[in-house]
Amino acid sequence: MATETIGESGYTLEDLSEYHDRGRVPAVAAIDGDPQCRAVLDSMDRLGALSRELVETDAAQGLEESWFEQIIGEVARESRAGRDLPLGADDDVRVVVTEGAVRGLVRDAGDAVDGVLVERVDVAVEEGRVDVALTISVIYGHALADVAARVRAEVHAAISESAAWNVGEIDVTIDALRMREERS
């Protein structure tokens, strides 16, 4: 197919296709200078754009609510609890809490501070002492040092309330600033 060359360029349609996929780099003067070749390349751009539009149009049809519910239900069954963290130091009874549960606790505590969304949470427990490292994003306009201090206080309070650990370091990293919060 397409053995004839396009315009005066001496290149075939397949050659142009490869040239298109290379992003027209390095530039080939015989192609770029030929009006027919340029028209073919522009058509290839349009067909690519049309393919994206096709998928976006189909996507706009949406999905059944049950489709989402099946995924969310499966995810809930497979909830990733992570490691067991020792809660008590009693010799007879070993009490543990999952890493996932502590992360959730820290996340909720951080989210409670105005303008904050928590990103990642790391928890380490050793000999009854817990160290927490979390990254957060903050809405632009909040005083960052103040926000970090409040997150630290909330996390400290939440852990102290729920577990008998000594709270060690709470390392708060502000990872991103968001411009605003859209209410929906």
Partner: protein, 181 residues
């Protein structure tokens, strides 16, 4: 929590990697329709695509802690979907190499027939008529924006083979879409 609805993908992906099911649910709602539409084009079946993307997203949930670039979570989802869809294509015809398979005659499925744009319908038919591996290569390249090397990795073929498939796909699409150009 409604604040999650407006949170960027990167934030949601990081929370989901930590086990936040609500953040993952927001990602699934945000990108599910696109992923199903993408898989439908590969598989030529909306019902298969529904199943395929559900399966892919549950795999994604398990593997989220491995995600290196949380901001690109949609592209990462697409990769898993493309791989699952390719597996399904292979399983459909275990004895026939996909490359040799003849294109099937195509009738629009009922959920697609309502679409009014005739140009999009024409392209849909042309893509459906392509051999499966040319079609998959085209979709990964044009819709997902993958490089030849990335497509080669997803399809388990050489970059040279990808180039050949894309060139053939493009020549066919180009010629059959002539009246729309």
């Amino acid at each position: 929590m409604d604040r999650l609805l407006s949170a960027e993908d990167g934030i949601l992906a990081q929370r989901a990697a930590d086990g936040d099911e609500r953040a993952f649910a927001v990602l699934v709602r945000r990108h599910g329709p696109y992923l199903v539409a993408f898989a439908t084009r590969i598989l030529r079946s909306r019902a298969d695509a529904d199943d395929c993307v559900q399966e892919a997203l549950i795999v994604a949930w398990r593997r989220l802690p491995e995600l290196r670039e949380p901001d690109r979570v949609r592209a990462w989802f697409s990769t898993i979907v493309a791989r699952k869809a390719t597996d399904r294509l292979r399983a459909r015809r275990p004895s026939t190499p996909i490359e040799d398979a003849e294109p099937l005659s195509t009738l629009p499925s009922p959920d697609e027939s309502a679409l009014t744009s005739s140009q999009l319908d024409a392209l849909r038919t042309v893509l459906d008529d392509l051999p499966a591996e040319q079609r998959t290569a085209w979709l990964l390249r044009e819709v997902s924006g993958y490089s030849y090397d990335e497509i080669a990795r997803e399809l388990g073929i050489s970059a040279t083979a990808v180039r050949g498939r894309l060139a053939r796909a493009r020549a066919t699409v180009f010629e059959r879409m002539q009246e729309w150009r």
